[in-house]
Structure formats: structure tokens, C-alpha cells
Amino acid sequence: MEIKKPVIKSIPYEDFKDNEYLENMVKQLNEGGTKVLIGCLDDLINWGRSNSLWPLTFATSCCGIEFMAVGAARYDFARFGFEVARASPRQADMIMVAGTITHKMAPVLKRLYDQMADPKYVIAVGGCAISGGPFKKSYHVLNGVDKILPVDVYIPGCPPRPEALLYGMMQLQRKVKLEKFFGGVNRKEEEPQKE
């Protein structure tokens, strides 16, 4: 089955055009092809998953306040189905790493990620989570969460505006729409070899 261009209702497709990474992924996935029934099922599942990404309430610093602002009255991420911010990692679908991750926090964050149930996604919010940001040279700051977690979407900014956060979350929706539950070729990282 032809993999459709992933569409998010609220943003016209043209607005996403700059995302070369996803375009390539679509191309790659299209090469193999899938069966019709499985493809339909995948579509259904992905529709469900992408429209119901529940974030974990996790924030370490400034970006967390902007994350709260996205949930609050003016920006209201509930409109897109991000509504139910769960405090327990078991019930959350994605973790927004909002803020600086320090050396002391890194194992805790990793543990939180491990506690989440599959499928789980990671968004790195703000300069600190992406690369260490203004604290890159500090002795106690992790230079980017991608060193310890597989990051799906990066949202730059210090802190990113709520609009940017929404855009980033929609990019994640779009990415989820490409996943294959039955089709096999998942882009998830391979499990490390057991010793």
C-alpha cells in the first residue's frame, strides 16, 4: 500500500515541507510496501496514537512554565488531544523534557523513561535539553538529552514560545502517523545485544 502523505488537519501540508527527515522516511517506508489490511489497521492505530498523546507532567526549569502555559487557557493543547497530562509515567505516552538536565537528574530521567509504557516518545524542549544551551560549559549539565534518550522531536528556544511547542508536538503527531505497528519496519532503535 502506498503510504500517504501524513496529514495533520490543523496545519496545511505545505507548512511541513521543510521537514526533510520525514520526507525521506516516507520515501524509505514506501519502498517496501505493505499489505492492504495491515496498512489499514496501522492507519487506524496510528490515528488513535497520534491523536491521543498524553504528556507526562515533567519539567525541570523555565521551559516547564511555558509547558504549563501551553496547557492553559490561551494556547490549550487539549484541542489537539494532548489533554490528559498524567503524573504517573506508566500512563503517559510522551515525555517533554522541558529544561536543563543535570548530571544528578540524568539517571532519574532515564529511569522515568524506562518506567513509561510503550509506545513512548521524547520531545526535547529548549536549548538546555537539546544541547545544554547556555549551560553547555557547566560541570554539572548534560549536553543534550539525546545522549541518554532517543529523542523524536527537538523544539529549540530558550524557552520556546507556546506556539513553537504546539508546532513541535504536531510534528510528533505527524511522525507517529508514519509508524508501523503490524508492518514490521519500525524506526525504533534496536535492542542492545544481551551479554
Partner: protein, 518 residues
């Protein structure tokens, strides 16, 4: 430049006790120092709350390998956490301190990062989980003057300990409490900080003065203006720069807007913690309006990078005055709505009244400034004690309640919003014309010496201690965290309360974690 009195370590305790008896009951700041050749040491900033007199004292130990100083944490309770911080940063051990653990860094951290000879390569990223340690070490002076090391247990094995944080919806970030419970009642509470310790003070030592400014905004992001104001003021004071009246006006107005912003967020978060979610959204709805005003002038919503040394970054937006006036006209009636939806609620009052009482003596001893101190009856407003910018010239009331409970802390902040609006109203119409930025040298060097400047942040006195050696870079820059005294007082407030009270107390004390950890 402050006059520093040097006291020998062996006389420190008697001298300090004498000063305490004289009436120096408030320890503004305790700063660890590494003077290189001269040795390691501590700088104490003391104040008489009765008269506002200040004294700066330093104690030095030349022994770098086995640095030891006597503790003062039984004289000022606030010194307890600060001394742990100094131990963490510089490795100075305080004899007689009951709990000599690291405050911010992991227990298996090697070395002390703020020492000038610290080797960073010793501490790579450790991904192992930190094992909770239930014991602590301390050093005790025997009768014959010798010092022995002892270990003490914090939590017994059969205690029911629950771990709140670092990832917990009610800790406002990544603070961690270990709480020993008896049913629902808190028997003991142990605070663990450092999950967002970013090493700002160390980073500042290798940044030029204008560069250091950027980091202050990210300390207490709800007091970004005020923090930056404090550092700018400290540097200006050191360089002997007088900023023009227009800049003073703008800074003062911005500080007060920031305070309203912070207090609205406080209201929102407190309501959320107590379970009243609708009120949370009310607070955020109105907070957005302040952010709009900020954005038009500074370009930033949360972190504005607005104050600079000798001025501000950009002139105020053309419609700034009108927008601020509109906002004040809007907020006054809206605050009544807040009181209707939350303050008047019988459940909210029951949850807060009489919960987490902090006495005036304790507040001063811990140095718990800001709304927390004022709720306990301590008139600790820096704007009144040491007026800066326009605060000496405007007429405003210092809100002081005497109950010291959570409800008083809540009401102090709600009333402060009104006072802030009064201050802004007095200033907003008479902003004088002029430049928004004083002409400064391209490279800023601060004359040798040590300086301390403080502003009233959103949640207490935010102080900056700057030691300069005449370089482009500060030799040591210490920020007096507004939150650290507050969390050190948590144990006192929470003991005997219920676990739900811990949330209410934490909410009303209103700490911001990156400000505690720095």
C-alpha cells in the same frame, strides 16, 4: 565596597555569639570563597533586623587539604543549608554541624567544583542510580578540644519513608523530599536539592560581566527582571555608575510587573496543588496579559534579558504605558473574582489556616525573606529596608501578617499584587524622557573589592555578592538564593503536619527550584 572584618577561626564562634547577642539576628548571606594563596574561607553578611545595620565578616582557613571551620548553624538556623552548600562547593568542613552531607552534588562526586584547582575530568556523567543514604556524618568537638567524626542515622530501617520527587507534580520542579510517615502524619522530612544544579556560579567566573547577566534570568525564571536588576545594580555600584532616572523608572515598573506575574503564577499553582483546577486557569489567563506587555517591550515572554549594565536593552514599547494602565484596570476587579472562586472557599480556608506555622523568630533565623517572612510578622521587605531604584520615592505599604500559617502566606502575596499595582500607578504616568542606556565602556572591568547588592525578588531577598580582582571576569559571584532558606525551613513547618499539608505548605512557601539549586 564593603568593609570586611576578618575573624580568626578559633575565635569565630565566640565572636559570632557576641554579635548575635548584640542583635545581629538575620544572616543575609553565607558565601564560601577560595582566595587561592590566602586559603579557603567563608564570608558572612549579617544584619540587625531592628535597625538595618550590616556587618560583613570573613573567616579564613589556610589548610586546603583538611579545611575546617567552626559552624554557626546553631546561632543562625539558616546557616545549616548554606554551610552544607559551602562544604559541597569548597570542601570546607564545619565542625559541630550536625549534617555534613553534600547539598547539591551526588554523594559519589569527586572533588569540590568551585575550588579554583578543581579538575573537571574527574566527574564524567554517571548513569547509575543514586542509592539513598540514610546516615550522615558530622564532626563533634570533645571537651578537650579534639575533633572526632561521627555518623548518625537520619531514617531508621523500620520507618515508612516515601519519596516525593524529583519528578512529582507538586514540587514545582525537581526538588526531592524524603518523608518519614506515621500514618499520614509527617515525622521527619529530609530535603534533597541539586537536581537542577547548573553550576551557574562557577560558570560566571569564566564569563565577562555582560555575559553573566544572561544566566541570572534563568535562576528564578519568575523573577527574571529582579534577578538581573540585582546583578546590574551590584556591578553599577561597584563601578560607581549612577543610572538615569528614566532607567530607574523602567526598572522599577518592570520589577513590579514581574512580581505580579510571579504572584499570579503562585496563585495558579497553589490552586492546582490544592485541587482547584479552574482557578489555575484563571491565573494563567491573566498572566498571559502581562507576558504580552513584556513581549512588546523586551521581546521575551518568560526570560527577557532586559536589564543591562547601565541601562536596559531597549526602549519601552510606544503603547507600553497605555497597556500597563489597561492591565491594571482589568486586574483589580479580576482579583475579586479570584477571591470569590478560591479564597472564600471554606475548603481552601480549612486547608490553609493554621497549617505550617513558621514563627517570626524562626523566619528570621532561617532568613526566610519575602512573602514567607512577612506572613510571619517580620517586616523584611528589601524595598523598605534598603530602598533602591525608585522605591524610596514611591508610597507603598509593606504587607505584614502575623499568623505565619499558609493562609497568611497566601494572603500576603495576594495583597502584594494590589500594592504592586499601586506602585506602578504612581510611576507609570511620570516616566521621564531620556536615554534608556547609559554610555558604558566597551569592556567592563569592576574595581577590586567585594560588593553586595540586594533586591526584593518575587519570593524574597535576592542578593548578589561580587568579589572582583579588577578583571573582565568576576573572581567570585554568589547569588543569595531566595529559595534555599525557604526549603531549609520546610522541616520546621512540616513536622507533625499531614502529607497533604506538605503540598499546601510547599505551595504557599512558593519556591522555585532552579533558584534553590542555581
Amino acid at each position: 565596597m564593603d568593609d570586611i572584618i576578618k575573624i580568626e577561626p578559633n575565635e569565630l564562634r565566640t565572636e559570632m555569639q557576641k554579635l548575635r547577642a548584640e542583635g545581629y539576628d538575620f544572616m543575609r548571606s553565607l558565601t564560601g570563597m577560595d582566595w587561592g594563596e590566602e586559603g579557603l574561607g567563608v564570608v558572612y553578611h549579617l544584619e540587625k533586623t531592628a535597625t538595618g545595620e550590616n556587618k560583613v565578616i570573613k573567616a579564613v582557613t589556610a589548610n586546603r587539604e583538611k579545611a575546617e571551620l567552626p559552624t554557626v548553624c546553631d546561632i543562625w538556623k539558616g546557616a545549616e543549608f548554606n554551610e552544607r552548600e559551602v562544604y559541597d562547593y569548597f570542601g570546607i568542613r564545619f565542625v559541630g554541624h550536625p549534617d555534613m552531607r553534600r547539598l547539591f552534588l551526588r554523594e559519589d562526586w569527586i572533588g569540590h567544583p568551585l575550588r579554583k584547582d578543581y579538575d573537571e575530568s574527574l566527574n564524567p556523567l554517571r548513569m547509575t542510580n543514586e542509592e539513598p543514604v540514610d546516615t550522615t556524618q558530622y564532626m563533634e568537638v570533645q571537651h578537650d578540644g579534639s575533633v572526632i567524626e561521627k555518623r548518625e542515622t537520619i531514617f531508621d530501617e523500620d520507618e515508612y519513608i516515601i519519596n516525593i520527587g524529583p519528578q512529582h507534580p507538586a514540587t514545582h520542579g525537581v526538588l526531592r523530599f524524603r518523608v518519614s510517615l506515621e500514618g499520614e502524619i509527617i515525622k521527619k522530612l529530609d530535603v534533597h536539592c541539586g537536581y537542577i544544579h547548573r553550576g551557574i556560579e562557577k560558570m560566571c567566573e569564566s564569563l565577562t560581566y555582560p555575559q553573566t547577566l544572561a544566566l541570572t534570568d534563568r535562576l528564578d525564571y519568575l523573577g527574571a527582571h529582579q534577578n538581573r536588576h540585582a546583578l546590574c545594580m551590584c556591578i553599577e555600584k561597584a563601578m560607581g555608575v549612577e543610572v538615569s532616572e528614566r532607567i530607574q523608572y523602567i526598572r522599577t515598573i518592570m520589577d513590579e510587573l514581574q512580581r505580579i506575574d510571579s504572584h499570579l503564577l503562585f496563585f495558579s499553582c497553589l490552586c492546582m496543588d490544592l485541587g482547584a483546577l479552574t482557578a489555575f486557569f484563571y491565573g494563567f489567563r491573566d498572566r498571559e496579559k502581562i507576558l504580552d506587555i513584556f513581549e512588546a517591550t523586551t521581546g521575551g515572554r518568560l526570560i527577557q534579558n532586559y536589564n543591562t549594565i547601565g541601562g536596559v536593552q531597549a526602549d519601552i514599547a510606544p503603547d507600553f504605558v497605555q497597556k500597563v494602565k489597561d492591565f491594571i484596570a482589568y486586574l483589580r476587579p479580576t482579583l475579586k473574582e479570584y477571591h470569590e472562586v478560591f479564597t472564600g472557599n471554606i475548603i481552601a480556608q480549612e486547608r490553609m489556616k493554621g497549617v505550617g506555622v513558621l514563627s517570626r523568630e524562626d523566619a528570621i533565623s532561617f532568613g526566610a525573606t519575602g512573602g514567607t517572612g512577612r506572613a510571619s510578622g517580620w517586616a523584611c521587605d528589601t524595598r523598605k529596608r534598603h530602598p533602591y531604584s525608585m522605591y524610596g520615592k514611591v508610597d507603598f505599604k509593606e504587607i505584614v501578617h502575623t499568623e505565619g500559617d499558609s493562609f497568611a502566606r497566601y494572603m500576603v502575596r495576594m495583597e502584594e499584587i494590589m500594592e504592586s499595582m499601586n506602585i506602578i500607578e504612581q510611576l507609570i504616568d511620570n516616566i521621564p524622557e531620556g536615554a534608556f542606556q547609559q554610555k558604558m565602556k566597551p569592556i567592563i572591568r569592576v574595581p577590586e573589592g567585594s560588593y553586595y547588592a540586594a533586591v526584593e525578588g518575587s519570593r524574597g531577598e535576592f542578593g548578589v555578592f561580587l568579589e572582583s580582582r579588577g578583571d573582565k571576569y568576576p573572581y567570585r559571584l554568589k547569588f543569595r538564593a531566595t529559595g534555599l532558606p525557604l526549603v531549609s525551613a520546610m522541616e520546621t513547618m512540616c513536622r507533625g503536619a499531614k502529607i497533604a499539608d506538605l503540598i499546601a505548605i510547599g505551595g504557599t512557601v512558593d519556591y522555585v527550584v532552579p533558584d534553590i539549586d542555581r
